[in-house]
């Protein structure tokens, strides 16, 4: 077995987690390789250090705290439902969506009213009909009706002079 392969297997060799053939091969290599023997010694000492660590005791009040946290989200008959946890990002996103859904039509409506006041309701209606006429899915007859209606009103207002 070559040196590099053995080096990779040293940890598993140390834990006796290799097949019997591999164990024998590594053992054979170790007998003639000082570097690998030294590395094995270091790994063994490292493992010993780690296993000498003492298990810490549970902190004071662990059980009581756990109970408290469990009560806070205690599952009742609805345990199968997803647990409601505070998700600020999601809440913000939902809030923004609701605001947009409410405010966009409100602002556009306001803008339309302002525009209508500015140019007069009939011309505004005529332009709206013009804009709608560009929509291929729009009912042509309806657009035509609105158009004609707006034109007639515009003509009807002719005595008062041209619309601003």
């Amino acid at each position: 077995m070559n040196h590099r392969r053995t080096a990779r297997l040293l940890s598993a060799y140390l834990d006796a987690e290799l097949s019997s053939e591999e164990m024998a091969e590594v053992q054979g290599h170790l007998a003639g390789c000082l570097d690998c023997s030294a590395e094995l010694g270091e790994l063994r000492a490292t493992r010993r250090l780690l296993s000498s660590l003492e298990a810490p005791d549970l902190p004071q009040g662990f059980a009581a705290d756990l109970q408290l946290r469990l009560w806070r989200r205690a599952p009742g008959p609805w345990a199968w439902l997803p647990v409601w946890e505070p998700r600020p990002a999601t809440a913000l996103a939902v809030l923004a969506l609701v605001l947009a859904l409410v405010s966009v039509p409100a602002i556009r409506g306001h803008q339309h009213r302002l525009r209508a006041a500015e140019i007069g309701p009939d011309l505004f209606l005529r332009r709206a009909a013009q804009a709608q006429a560009r929509d291929p899915l729009m009912d042509r007859a309806f657009v035509g009706l609105v158009f004609t209606d707006a034109n007639l009103r515009l003509i009807g207002e002719d005595p008062r002079g041209p619309v601003r």
Partner: protein, 195 residues
């Protein structure tokens, strides 16, 4: 779980609760020890352990009876530890040079009751701190393997099933972990051997 009171609890399957309490009774300390070695800090370890146990409790109703509890518990715990530590990596970075002064104090205080030998206590705390610092230098998924193998003493096969990874991955991660730890701990090993 001695503090629990029957009346405080909303209706839930009683056998689930009994199983959960037995589980906590039996494994909480071990899970906490694993968490402690993963984060190196008492408060964080407590938090992590409780979060893991709460998840276990929440998935209790979905657990089919007859499934070995221990393996299932460790599967949740190990994955959660790795997941949380990975996510937290950006926020809490523990420097290797940073002296864990409070921890040494805590350890010395904890162990003073058990051991009258002050010198051994101080030495043990120092050793613990150094090894812990070295552990914290590893990636969470690698750290988990070495904690399970060398601190907790599980076999490769057990670790593979706990973490849901192939035995070959356990083998390679453990070897990488030990090589890194060997380098970090070389001065400590030398000083111990020279003693």
């Amino acid at each position: 779980m001695a503090q629990s009171k029957e009346s405080e609890r909303p209706a839930g399957p009683q056998d689930d609760r009994a199983r959960f309490e037995a589980l906590v009774e039996k494994y909480a300390r071990r899970v906490y020890a694993m968490a402690y070695r993963m984060v190196g800090h008492e408060a964080d370890a407590k938090d992590l352990t409780q979060e893991a146990l709460i998840r276990v409790w929440r998935s209790m109703p979905r657990l089919r009876p007859g499934v070995p509890l221990e393996g299932w518990l460790y599967r949740i715990v190990t994955n959660l530890f790795i997941d949380l530590l990975r996510r937290r990596r950006g926020t809490r970075v523990q420097s290797l040079d940073e002296p864990l002064a409070t921890e040494a104090g805590e350890l010395a205080r904890e162990r003073a009751d058990h051991s009258a030998d002050v010198e051994r206590t101080v030495l043990g705390a120092m050793l613990d701190r150094r090894v812990q610092q070295a552990l914290l230098s590893l990636q969470p998924e690698i750290r988990m393997v070495v904690v399970l193998a060398d601190v907790e003493g599980y076999a490769y096969e057990e670790i593979a099933s706990m973490m849901g990874i192939p035995v070959g991955t356990v083998k390679s991660r453990l070897h990488r972990a030990r090589l890194t730890l060997r380098d970090h701990l070389a001065p400590l090993r030398d000083s111990l051997e020279g003693r």
